[in-house]
Every structure is written in structure tokens, then in C-alpha cells.
């Protein structure tokens, strides 16, 4: 429960900061660019987490970074659910040629080592124009992560649908004369959807970490602070003994991932009837 609380807190924070930015409310995190003290001031009562090279508050940057990092992970998750779930369901339900094609596509994507694939997508997508929009920073980052990570969820859903499609309730629906669309959406989906939730509570962590790595390699957000860019900036500062920016960003990622990991495990234990209790995880 504590973990759920922590996760919710992060999401609320991210949502609040985006709202504040949208409506231009004058709160701390949206004014992260403001100079609040001297360059590299250590943590003090005035600046809780110290300042960076430009005298910007590390605390504000960390809060603002939550918005960027969580936005990337959230968009990537949504994108991969939107691609992966319908494809998996359709492949599992119809089998045959459709199944072959879907399996071929995801085996192909799945055979490229994950990090390489994300990087390749990110390199190519960066600064491309798509439907009149220039793909900069976070857009390219979440497109790259989302377009590459639907494989896992698609495979999972396909397997589950194959298992479920011969169950009595599906057969009953067929005998009532339900359309195939209705069977998939109204009967099969609700029975496999809990897996999507569990899978994504665990995968979200990987997305946040992927954002950190992309930003570090210069393929993520470049103008605004995210946890990844903060760690990247902190790389050079460490040798001067400036540890607070590094510590703040790492701690932010750590607490968030830990809460999500524990929460995801608990969710899996309670939703998956095959497991049960601590001993069997």
C-alpha cells in the first residue's frame, strides 16, 4: 500500500507539474530555469538540494524531471499497449495466416537486442518530420521505446487468448451468435486485461530506466531537465565533489522504481491465481 501511495504521489506530481506548466501557474518546478543561488551551492536550508552550474535549484529540477520522465514512460506504455494488445488478440483468436504474420513481425523485432533496437529507432526518428511535427527530444524517445516494446505484451496476450478461446464462455458467446469483434472485445479482453496491468507496472520501470539511458546518450530531452539529463550533467560534476544533483536524480529514480517493482509484484501475486503468497513468487 505504501508503494502504491508512492507511485500515486509521483504520478500526481507529474500531472500537477504538467498542469501548472500548461496554465502557467507560478510554482517552483515550472520555474526551474530561474537562478536561485550561486553556482554549485551545496544543499542548505535555502536550497534543499543545492544548485547546479547555472545556480538553478536541483530540487525544482528533480520535480520537473519527474514530469518529463513519467511522460516518456507513460506515452511509451500507452503506445505499446495500443499496438501490442490488439495485434496479440487478433493473432491469438484468428490463428492461421494473420497469426503467422504477427509472429513473424514480433520475432523479427524481438531478435534485435533491445537496447540496440531502441537506439536505432531513436537515432533515426530524431529530428525527423512526421505529419508536420518535428520529432524532438521526448517525442522521439517515447516513440522509440513504444514502437520497440510492444513485442512482450503482444506475445503475452496472444498466448492467453489462445488458451482462453476454447473455454466454455467463449464457446457460449459463439453459439449465441456474437460477432467475432464482440467476442474479442467484450469477452476475451476483460479476461486477459489484468495481465496487461501487471506487465506494465513492471515494465514501466524499464521505460524510466530507458529514458535515463537515452537522455544520457543525447537522444532524449535536451532543453528541459529530466532525470536522465540530470544524471548526464552530474557526470562531470562528480569529480569536483558536486554530488547533490547526481544523488537527487538517482534517488528519485530509485524510489520510484522500487515502489513500482514492489507494487507490481504484489499486484501479480494477488491477480495471478497460479501464484499465491510470498513463498511462491
Amino acid at each position: 500500500m505504501v508503494c502504491l501511495g508512492v507511485v500515486m504521489l509521483y504520478f500526481l506530481l507529474a500531472g500537477f507539474v504538467s498542469l501548472a506548466e500548461f496554465f502557467d501557474w507560478p510554482i517552483g518546478p515550472t520555474r526551474w530555469a530561474e537562478e536561485v543561488g550561486p553556482s554549485y551551492a551545496p544543499p542548505s536550508l535555502q536550497n534543499i538540494l543545492g544548485t547546479d552550474i547555472f545556480g538553478q535549484s536541483v530540487f525544482r529540477k528533480t520535480l520537473y524531471g519527474a514530469r518529463i520522465s513519467i511522460t516518456v514512460a507513460l506515452c511509451a506504455s500507452l503506445l505499446s499497449i495500443v499496438i501490442g494488445v490488439p495485434l496479440g488478440a487478433v493473432a491469438g483468436y484468428f490463428r492461421g495466416f494473420v497469426d503467422d504474420v504477427v509472429v513473424w513481425v514480433y520475432s523479427t523485432l524481438g531478435s534485435v537486442p533491445y537496447v540496440l533496437l531502441i537506439l536505432a529507432f531513436a537515432v533515426v526518428l530524431r529530428d525527423k518530420t512526421l505529419f508536420g511535427h518535428r520529432l524532438t527530444g521526448i517525442t522521439a524517445a517515447y516513440l522509440a521505446i513504444g514502437l520497440t516494446s510492444w513485442v512482450g505484451i503482444c506475445r503475452l496476450i496472444r498466448g492467453e487468448v489462445i488458451k482462453h478461446k476454447d473455454r466454455e464462455y467463449v464457446l457460449a458467446a459463439v453459439s449465441y451468435g456474437c460477432s467475432r469483434y464482440r467476442i474479442i472485445v467484450r469477452h476475451l479482453m476483460p479476461n486477459v486485461l489484468h495481465l496487461v496491468i501487471v506487465d506494465f507496472s513492471l515494465r514501466f520501470v524499464a521505460f524510466v530506466h530507458a529514458e535515463v539511458i537515452l537522455s544520457f546518450l543525447g537522444l532524449g530531452e535536451s532543453d528541459r531537465p529530466s532525470w536522465g539529463t540530470m544524471i548526464n550533467d552530474a557526470r562531470m560534476e562528480l569529480s569536483r565533489g558536486v554530488w547533490w544533483q547526481m544523488a537527487a536524480a538517482t534517488a528519485a529514480v530509485f524510489v520510484f522504481s522500487l515502489a513500482l517493482n514492489v507494487f507490481g509484484d504484489a499486484l501479480r501475486d494477488s491477480l495471478d491465481p497460479k501464484l499465491g503468497g510470498f513463498n511462491k513468487t
Partner: protein, 312 residues
């Protein structure tokens, strides 16, 4: 058995073709015309045309005998990846990087596997106890620290502050001295996830009847753990290890970047910074090929060990 192998090989061919198509779509169709970028700012029209000619960018994409896709297909299958931005052959660059990368990743690979498997065996044996809970908590915490955090803190404290290891790669030192710290960091960072995975595998085995029988026969704890449980848990262990072999070759992007190890990962980071599509595309392709080949080997190994698999 023979049919099974043939089917698997044919399937791999389809996947390799898919990867070819993927790299082509990604780097040529979506990536687009890079001649202007190569030529640099202010280049004349003729220079750009020459570059387009050399890279074949003026040819049709798909529907022609000498289309870009056909030439991409031919060159990639023969492992001719063209030249990088600095005119060096991509394949030479990669060959040069493999040695340093392997010296870094091979110890990480075997170290992580050995430590994680034996640790998880012990944890599975004391399952349900306070030790077990503690181990799971530590592993989950370890999984939650970003990889960069491990590297930066390790480099800062162990190398820079306390001077136990060299901070940066230098050709004067022996390989062992150079890779000691990166290897240590790599193992530490990978341990959490691996121990948790193997623990689940081991627990599945621990609950089976044959383990109870073995204990009932009066076999020693060590005999049961290593003789029975480990042997039966080998299949998931081998799968996981086979899947990570491509990473051996690809090196560790971040570790190599931070410690200045001139390996394949470092090459990749440079290529990304320079937007050198030839190099990135070649790496993607080689990584996928390795993955497919090792998966195939693993699949055939299972079929040899477990006859039930080849029937399905």
C-alpha cells in the same frame, strides 16, 4: 528430430530476412537521404550528387533489379557494410572493437551467471526464512537503481576517491587492471534481476516431487541441490544465457563509454553521436544474427535433451 531442426532453420531464415527489411526500412526509408549531411554545410550540388551516386541513394527504393533494397540485401548478407563516415570499413572497425569488448563482457557474463545461480540455489533452499525475504528485498532494490547510478557511484568512490582502480582505460596497464572495475560494476548491476529470476526457477524445481524423494532417500543437501535441482533447472538457465550472448559481442555501451574502453559499445556510442547510419545498421544486424543463431542452437540443444519438444 530432423524435421524439427529444418523447420527451426527455415524459421530463422524468415526472421533474418525480417531483420534485413527492418534495417532497410529504418535507415534508408525512414532515415532518408543523408547525402546532404555527409557533404556538410555549403557543399556544392555536384558533391551531393556524387555522394548520392556513391551510396546509391539515387536509385529506386524497391521495385527494380538494382534497387536500393536489393543492394542492401546483397551487401548485408555478405557482411559488407560499406564505409563509416571516416572512410574506414565498418567491418574493420567492428573487428577492432570485439577484443576489448569481450575482455569486458565475458567476465561479466560468466561472473554474473555463476554468482547468481549459486546464490539463488542457496536462497531457494532457505525459502520463506528471513534470509529469503532479505535477499528478495536487496535484489529488488538493486533492480531499481538506474544502471548509470551504479557506474557513476562506482567510478567516483572506488576509482576516483579511494584510488583502488584506474579511473580510465589506459593502454599502458594490463587488461585485467583496466577492466577490473567495469567488470565489478557490471556484475553488481546485473545481479539483482538475475538472482530474482533464477530464484523463481529454482523454487519451481524445489517444489517438485523428485526433490522430496531425493531428500527422503537421505541424500545430503549438497547432493540434492547440485545433483538434482541444478540439473533440472538447467533449461531456463541455458535459455537466459543463450539470449544474452549477443550482448557479449556488443559490449556494454555505458560501461565502455564511461571507462573509455575502445570496444564495440564505444563504437556504437560514437556512431550514434555522429548519426553514422552504416555503423548503427551493421551493429543492429549483427546483434540480431547472433541472437537468432544462439537461439537456434539453444532450441536444438533442448530438442536433443528433451524429446517431447521436437514433437510439438
Amino acid at each position: 528430430m530432423r524435421n524439427y531442426v529444418i523447420r527451426r532453420v527455415l524459421y530463422c531464415v524468415a526472421v533474418v530476412f525480417g531483420v534485413l527489411l527492418l534495417t532497410f526500412l529504418l535507415f534508408t526509408v525512414v532515415g532518408g537521404d543523408i547525402s546532404v549531411e555527409i557533404a556538410g554545410e555549403g557543399a556544392s550540388r555536384e558533391t551531393i550528387e556524387e555522394i548520392r551516386e556513391e551510396y546509391g541513394l539515387n536509385k529506386p527504393l524497391f521495385l527494380s533489379v538494382d534497387s536500393q533494397f536489393v543492394s542492401h540485401f546483397k551487401s548485408t548478407v555478405t557482411f559488407d557494410f560499406g564505409r563509416a563516415r571516416d572512410r574506414e570499413l565498418v567491418i574493420d572497425k567492428i573487428k577492432r572493437g570485439v577484443g576489448p569488448s569481450l575482455s569486458l563482457t565475458a567476465p561479466i557474463f560468466f561472473g554474473t551467471a555463476a554468482i547468481a545461480v549459486s546464490l539463488s540455489l542457496v536462497i531457494a533452499f532457505v525459502r520463506g526464512s528471513a534470509w529469503d525475504v532479505a535477499a528478495v528485498v536487496v535484489c529488488t532494490a538493486g533492480m531499481s537503481i538506474p544502471y548509470l547510478g551504479f557506474i557513476l557511484l562506482g567510478q567516483y568512490f572506488l576509482a576516483y576517491k579511494w584510488g583502488l582502480f584506474p579511473v580510465f582505460f589506459s593502454p599502458d596497464l594490463t587488461t585485467a587492471q583496466n577492466v577490473a572495475l567495469p567488470v565489478l560494476i557490471g556484475i553488481a548491476a546485473g545481479l539483482g534481476g538475475n538472482v530474482r529470476f533464477y530464484r523463481t526457477v529454482m523454487l519451481d524445481e524445489m517444489r517438485s516431487n523428485y526433490v522430496r524423494t531425493a531428500f527422503a532417500k537421505g541424500l545430503s543437501v549438497r547432493g540434492v541441490l547440485f545433483g538434482h535441482v541444478l540439473k533440472n533447472a538447467m533449461i531456463p538457465i541455458i535459455t537466459r544465457m543463450a539470449m544474452s550472448v549477443p550482448f557479449l559481442f556488443l559490449g556494454s555501451l555505458l560501461l565502455e563509454r564511461f571507462f573509455g574502453i575502445p570496444g564495440v559499445g564505444h563504437l556504437m556510442v560514437q556512431a550514434i553521436a555522429a548519426r553514422d547510419y552504416n555503423v548503427v545498421s551493421a551493429m543492429t544486424y549483427i546483434g540480431a544474427i547472433l541472437f537468432v543463431v544462439f537461439n537456434l542452437i539453444a532450441d536444438i540443444c533442448y530438442a536433443a535433451v528433451d524429446p517431447r519438444l521436437s514433437v510439438e
